[in-house]
């Protein structure tokens, strides 16, 4: 339908949202992602019956961990949409991009940049 949404979203295909483990979300943040979306089917419509419910619980767990270590919990979010709902996906993409923009770049990214600059300096010195 050629709807438009910002380019910041990069999509990884998994068989079911239930396949996304907590470690995947944390690793993404560790590698410097500013935000993580886990998108699953509408509740009750999951092809694998309860995959999306597991995903929801894991996202909540990651959000709690983020809060505890002083990062914004909204950087990770769970969305549910149906396969036929193209506009909803575009809406989600825009909404999440806005939200993450407000939150600003991920502290990890800056820290890593700083660290790599420092290590470069050390090497140079």
């Amino acid at each position: 339908m050629r709807l438009r949404y910002p380019t910041n979203i990069k999509i990884i295909k998994v068989p079911c949202s239930g396949r996304v483990a907590i470690i995947h979300m944390l690793k993404a943040l560790e590698e410097g992602a500013d935000g993580v979306i886990v998108a699953g089917c509408l509740e009750g419509d999951c092809h694998y019956q309860s995959g999306n419910l597991r995903a929801k619980k894991r996202v909540i767990y990651v959000q709690e961990v983020l809060e505890k270590i002083g990062m914004e919990a909204e950087r990770v979010a769970m969305y549910n949409l149906s396969a036929g709902d193209g506009p909803r996906f575009a809406e989600i993409a825009r909404e999440m991009t806005e939200k993450v923009k407000e939150l600003g770049p991920s502290p990890i990214k800056n820290a890593k940049k700083l660290a790599s600059k420092k290590s470069k300096v050390e090497v140079a010195a």
Partner: protein, 1009 residues
């Protein structure tokens, strides 16, 4: 099986009409080993269903259900889609026909056309878009709908001015102006007619002045308005000024049950349900409060869970007004005035902002012509003439019919009949199975485990869809710099046939062992590329797709630089993941070539007979002493079939067929194994000795029972009887019955109340059948039927018509004021409140006949043994109400007859044939592919903590003898939940390993820091 000389039968079938029925029949037959020619007169298959927005009763979006079927038919090796073609004639006899076709010119070569859409964007000529029911325009070169199959455009000569612009813009040089109509002939063994039907054109109703009031639309137009791919992108707007209507009315029976405007006296069976659906969905779409009103005569929601749907609609505020609107007058600038008489008899008039005409089915001229050309007889409504006991066989042997040409019906019924027709043709052509079909020989798979990953990257322009926005050459050059990449190339259309061939060569030449294609969505093209890999001897899982079209170029059109950067990221991610892809082999396991049918009623008998005719060994298990089930108590069907005679020779045929083994007085006590290899334990005969049966498929046909009412003095007075009792009574002593002066019948006894909210579908026609019989016995007997809704759906309406003309009186009662049966002296009395006079009426009766409900048989134990879900009322749950009505959710177990839901005998037979067809197709494959993208447990690190056992939604993981967890590849659905839950991280999911995902992540974010 070599083609046997003496039978000159042809192992191919022609299916006429590519709607949902045509597609289902083609798929069943192709899987069962026959070559299918699917002929459709329009440029794309999909039929009416493709135009629908949502479908009742599940409210799934029609496109979401039908597109997998479309892709499957489009890609199936043994289905040859011939679109834009009509059938000229058909000679020959069953098993060996010669069909003459005319292929109308398409002017676009389907091989080359990649559906990029440039031509239609440039085309200057426009015409009314029939797909969107004339709500908007379309160009001369068009594709009927975005997901059309075959994916290609067509030029509509009637409006094309021939300016040649499309040829100029078409990069694929697919346009061919001197395409000519071609005559072709082909040999087929059987023909299945599924041309579907047109809908009634309401312009014939001057009083509705449909033509000059834009806000009066047909139901199909309303479907397009609601559909997300429709003219208004799914926003609820009325055509005149695109305002959101606040009040919409639906007028039922437009072009059905009507003899003065048109001669369609039949009921179109689906309009009530789709009107309710459209009202409910419209409410969902509306922002503010939407007042919806349906004007109807009888609310005919007779199918499975239809009544629940009707009740829920009432709860959601849909108003149901029992009156037929005569005319629609314009009011103000564009509103509409309807006037009607309400229940209390007062004249009411209301102004609506939009009116939807629920148009019924009508057999179009073309279809009538087609039927004549193919030499099949039509009944008085121009539907195909079929017999109750053989619902899918036409008057011409070897030619079968299914779908709406056989009679007005809804999608599940059409799909059932489609499978039924497939079963019938499969039985006819059983000896020449697998003779015409092609099987793809695949070269030996190269063992690449030792090799270093050598990744080939193929970036696609997809015409200008990608190339126009993303700088493809830059992406290609960027890919060259990525690790493990040994070859990069970009091409105009990677999915076109010639590119596939060239890619195969490149792979061989550079011994590439991983392939990354940056193009469109894996959903539509992954299998296509995987097949190319197989053809070149590579394991099909060594393939990764970067979606740089649907998820990049198409959605970032306004920002080419960022889109190109994103494309590079996506390619980098895919290359990183591709390097880690492992070859996954799929094991073939043998399917036990025997079927098991549980339940020996009319459905079970038909299923077992057809399976046998398809050449398979079948065992029939029946817990009663003799076969027949509920049909034993029926004598005559409403259209005159002598049930007992039919049942007797059916049973005789089953017992004499050497492929069938009948076990009566047999109770199922054990059930184990997986699809293709079930083992069932049965206790047989009075001696209850145990028998173990190994079989590949199971068909459930456990039937239903008649509800024994506990009201209306049923058990206290023998003059009060159920319809079945009356059937037996009439059969034995009809003279006695003739003496009756007055017979009162009460409908909906035990149905449509709290504990059984569903409608039992068959009691209305049962009552009318017996009423007509009674009138024959004694014309001046007074027969009175008290009903809540007369649900004489489809062609049954004629009998309702006949009953009224013969003086049978019909009185309506409302659920909250049911009739009372009482006794004074030894006379029987019935009192009820007449809706028109609104006063109680009391009358004596010689006999009181109750239309009692059809309830589910007690299958508690069987359901738990087979782990089959049942709904609240005890009927078995089908896998999908619309598209898989005869399959259970667990594979290779099929369902038919009244075990699924109450239904007419002819409908049970159709469903039985459908179940036999599905079972036949499954068995015909002889081998089953399992494994591949499934979960595997690494035993060393398994702490046997049972987390996987507890978290798998399908309960597949088991702890084996050396107490570590084990996952049966045949049952694992590959969702990967256990992989993420396992605390020891010891479970691996083929093609979606943790390291592959982290490689993806790492590669993505590598660019960032």
């Amino acid at each position: 099986m070599a083609k046997s000389k003496e039978s000159k039968k042809v192992g191919a079938v022609m299916v006429v009409g590519g709607g949902v029925a045509g597609m289902q029949a083609s798929l069943d037959l192709a899987d069962a080993g026959y070559y299918v020619h699917l002929v459709d007169k329009s440029p794309a298959i999909g039929g009416i269903m493709a135009q629908l927005d949502k479908t009742f009763p599940t409210n799934d979006c029609a496109m979401c259900i039908i597109s997998p079927k479309l892709v499957e038919v489009g890609r199936h090796l043994n289905i040859n889609m011939i679109t834009n073609t009509e059938v000229e004639g058909l000679e020959g006899e069953a098993g060996n026909f010669t069909a003459k076709l005319i292929n109308h010119p398409r002017y676009i070569d389907l091989e080359k056309c990649t559906a990029c859409g440039e031509c239609s964007r440039a085309c200057p000529a426009t015409a009314v878009n029939e797909f969107n029911e004339r709500l908007d325009l379309r160009e001369a070169t068009y594709m009927t709908y975005p997901q059309a199959m075959p994916r290609g455009f067509v030029i509509d000569r009637s409006i094309c001015v021939g300016c040649g612009l499309c040829e100029k813009v078409c990069l694929a040089e697919a346009i061919n102006y001197d395409d000519k109509p071609r005559q072709t002939e082909m040999e087929v063994g059987a023909v299945i007619l599924a041309p579907g039907n047109g809908v009634f054109d309401p312009s014939r109703f001057e009083t509705y002045n449909y033509m000059d009031l834009p806000n009066v639309v047909t139901s199909l137009e309303f479907e397009r308005i609601l559909s997300a791919s429709g003219p208004y992108q799914g926003h609820l707007m009325r055509p005149y000024d695109r305002e959101e209507p606040q009040k919409i009315a639906w007028l039922q029976c437009v072009g059905s049950r009507d003899i003065n405007h048109c001669d369609n006296s039949y009921c179109s069976a689906v309009c009530c349900m789709y009107a309710i659906k459209e009202a409910v969905i419209a409410k969902e779409h509306a922002h503010g409060e939407l007042d919806t009103a349906i004007f109807f005569m009888d609310m005919r929601t007779y199918g499975k869970d239809f009544e629940l749907y009707y009740n829920r609609a009432k709860e959601e505020g849909v108003r149901f007004i029992r009156s037929r609107i005569h005319s629609i007058e314009p009011e103000g600038e564009c509103d509409l005035l309807l006037s009607y008489v309400d229940d209390q008899g007062e004249l009411q008039s209301e102004v609506f902002e939009m009116v939807v005409l629920s148009v019924g089915f009508e057999v179009g001229e073309e279809i009538i012509e087609l039927s004549k050309r193919l030499g099949i007889e039509l009944n008085q409504h121009n539907f195909a003439l079929t017999d109750t006991s053989t619902p899918v066989t036409t008057s011409r042997p070897g030619v079968y019919v299914c779908g709406t040409l056989q009679g007005p019906k809804d999608i599940p019924q059409s799909v059932m009949e489609a499978s039924g027709a497939a079963a019938a043709s499969s039985a006819l052509l059983n000896e020449v199975r697998w003779t015409e079909t092609k099987i793809k020989e695949l070269p030996e798979q190269r063992d690449i485990s030792e090799e270093e990953p050598r990744v080939g990257v193929f970036v696609c322009n997809c015409g200008i869809n990608i190339g126009g926005i993303v700088d493809v050459p830059a992406v290609r050059e960027y890919a060259r710099t990525l690790p493990n990449v040994v070859h990069v190339e970009d091409n105009l259309f990677t999915c076109s046939q010639d590119t596939q061939v060239s890619m195969a060569e490149v792979i061989k030449e550079k011994s590439i062992n991983r392939m990354v294609v940056a193009a469109c969505t894996p959903h539509t093209h992954e299998d296509l590329f995987r097949e190319t890999l197989l053809e070149v001897g590579l394991n099909k899982y060594l393939f990764e797709m970067a979606n740089i079209r649907n998820q990049d170029s198409w959605v970032h059109m306004s920002d080419p630089e960022k889109a190109t950067a994103k494309a590079k990221d996506l390619v980098r991610m895919s290359v990183a993941r591709a390097a880690l892809l492992e070859p996954l082999e799929e094991r073939m396991i043998e399917i036990k070539q025997r079927g098991l049918v549980i339940g020996g009623g009319v459905a079970g008998l038909n299923a077992v007979l057809n399976l046998a005719q398809q050449g398979f060994e079948v065992v029939l298990v029946e817990k009663e002493k003799e076969l027949g089930g509920l049909a034993r108590h029926l004598h005559r069907t409403i259209d005159g079939l002598d049930v007992q005679k039919y049942m007797n020779n059916l049973i005789e045929e089953v017992q004499t067929n050497e492929h069938i083994q009948v076990l009566t007085e047999a109770l199922v006590v054990g059930f184990s194994g997986a699809k293709g290899n079930f083992t069932t334990e049965v206790l047989v005969g009075p001696g209850m000795y145990e028998r173990k049966i190994d079989h590949g498929v199971t068909i459930i046909a456990t039937g239903a029972v008649e509800h024994k009412p506990n009201e209306y003095l049923y058990s206290e007075d023998d003059r009060v009887m159920t319809q079945l009792d009356l059937g037996n009574f009439l059969h034995e002593n009809s003279k006695e019955a003739a003496k009756w002066q007055r017979v009162v019948m009460i409908q909906c006894v035990g149905s449509r109340n709290e504990d059984n909210p569903n409608c039992s579908r068959v009691c209305c026609q049962g009552a009318v059948k017996h009423a007509l019989e009674l009138k024959e016995l004694n014309p001046d007997m007074e027969v009175i039927i008290l009903y809540r809704d007369m649900r004489m759906y489809g062609l049954l309406e004629d009998y309702y018509q006949e009953a009224r003309s013969k003086g049978i009186l019909f009185f309506r009662y409302s659920a909250d004021q049911p009739p009372q049966a009482s006794r004074n002296g030894d006379g029987l009395q019935v009192t009820f409140t007449d809706q028109v006079l609104n006063r109680p009426v009391q009358m004596s009766a010689d006999a009181l006949v109750l239309g009692s409900a059809t309830m589910a048989a007690d299958t508690e134990e069987l359901a738990s043994l087979l782990k089959l879900p049942r709904n609240r009322d005890g009927f078995f749950l089908e896998a999908h109400a619309k598209l898989r009505p005869v399959e259970c959710s667990s594979e290779a177990i099929y369902l038919c007859g009244t075990a699924h839901a109450p239904k007419l005998m002819s409908e049970s037979i159709a469903q039985a044939l459908a179940a036999a067809s599905k079972a036949g197709s499954f068995l015909a494959a002889e081998e089953l592919r399992v494994g591949g993208a499934v979960a595997v447990v690494d035993p060393e690190r398994c702490a046997a903590c049972l987390v996987c056992v507890m978290s798998c939604p399908y309960g597949v993981p088991r702890i084996n003898e050396d107490n570590v967890s084990e996952i049966n590849p045949a049952l694992c659905q590959g969702c990967g939940v256990c992989v993420s839950e396992c605390p020891g991280n010891t479970i691996h999911l083929g093609h979606c390993e943790d390291d592959q995902i982290s490689a993806n992540l790492h590669a993505l974010l590598e660019g960032v820091i």
